[in-house]
Amino acid sequence: MDTNATTPTHTAPAARPAATGGHQRIDQFKTEIAELDVKTPADGNERWYLLAGIISMAVGMVLILGGYIGASGTALVAEQIPYLLSGGALGIGFVIIGGALFVRFSLSRYLRFWLIREIYEERAQTDRLVESLGAIEALLADRQNR
């Protein structure tokens, strides 16, 4: 493409006043920033998920127990079905969801502690190694000097 063939027919107009009105723009910027709806990420989310998992499991157990008590109170199958659904199925659902949350977040905590421990031990081992090498070097230097 011949780039020079394009003749400049467009006369560049002046920049927008807002682009040059520095202070006004900065003030507007500050106002907009102050009004922004920022959702600060919570640091303790993990703990809450763990708690939610435990509560969900407990609720599930209570529902199952309630369902069992309700169903055992009648000999009619048609009357037992609602207990089975609202107590048994819903309760199992709560237990599964709660269990998944609990396993997911307790496992990540455990793995994080494990990783930190690994790093710590590796560093301690390196320090011991460096210390030993220093001692060997000092001994060798001492022997050479004799």
């Binding site: 780039t3 927008r16 520095g22 900065i26 920022v38 990420p41």
Partner: protein, 241 residues
């Protein structure tokens, strides 16, 4: 001193306090402190892999810090979405320009009309600042020189009328003369009151327009000071001396 205690005029436009950021479990910023006062140019220099672009990503909201605080005009912005910040006036000009190569200059500029600004206004700002783009307005962006593409990228950014400009490796792959020309424009933009954070790996040209400079190494800012003081230390920092 906490920002909240400062008089409003002394509140820096951008501030990072002990910012930590990580890609998954790999932490790349280990407590970055940075203060960009209003209307100044801050040059962040450092070798490849120092964490400069990650710092910009935090400032533009693309990455949430894992620790510390990121403040704009005195307000803690951890967790702010990049589009929220962009709409308010934080503009990032990324490394590698990010122009659409198969679109013409005019069409590239048209992409910036999403905020409700008319194409005529966007073009007015762009061509006033970069007259060369007016000559090239029907040309495909991908067929322009690197310097012209960088101008287009800057023009597109300036069309949003930013208050805070984040520039990533402006000089990348460009001839020294073009770099000098671009930094002259950066100085003009700063003179209009826009606060600018520039990230550079090699270009010393940026030191000529910067008010404050900092050297970043291994995810930490190791030295902050006036640009002329840091110039001599740059080579030593890069070579690990």
């Amino acid at each position: 001193m906490p920002t909240e205690e400062l008089p409003p005029d002394d509140v820096p436009l951008l501030e990072l306090r002990s910012v930590r950021a990580a890609y998954g479990r790999i932490e790349v910023l280990h407590g970055v402190d940075l203060v960009l006062p209003e209307g100044q140019v801050f040059a962040l220099l450092g070798p490849n892999g120092a964490g400069k672009t990650t710092t910009l990503s935090v400032c533009s909201g693309l990455m949430a810090p894992t620790g510390g605080g990121f403040y704009i005009a005195g307000r803690r912005m951890n967790g702010a979405a990049p589009d929220q910040l962009a709409r308010s006036g934080v503009c990032t000009i990324p490394e590698g320009r990010g122009v659409f190569p198969n679109l013409t200059v005019r069409e590239n500029l048209q992409m910036m009309t999403f905020g409700g600004v008319s194409l005529a206004d966007v073009e007015a700002v762009a061509y006033a600042r970069f007259p060369r783009l007016a000559e090239r307005r029907t040309q495909l962006a991908g067929t322009m020189s690197g310097g012209e593409q960088q101008m287009l990228s800057m023009a597109r950014g300036l069309a949003t009328n930013p208050a805070l400009l984040l520039l990533d490796e402006l000089s990348m792959g460009l001839a020294p003369l073009i770099v000098e020309e671009l930094y002259e424009i950066v100085a003009q933009i700063a003179a209009e009151g826009v606060s600018i954070l520039v990230v550079e790996q090699f270009a010393r040209t940026v030191l000529g327009v910067a008010d404050i400079a900092a050297i970043m190494l291994h995810g930490q800012i190791v030295r902050v000071g006036p640009p002329h003081e840091l110039e001599d230390e740059l080579s030593a920092a890069y070579l690990g001396a």
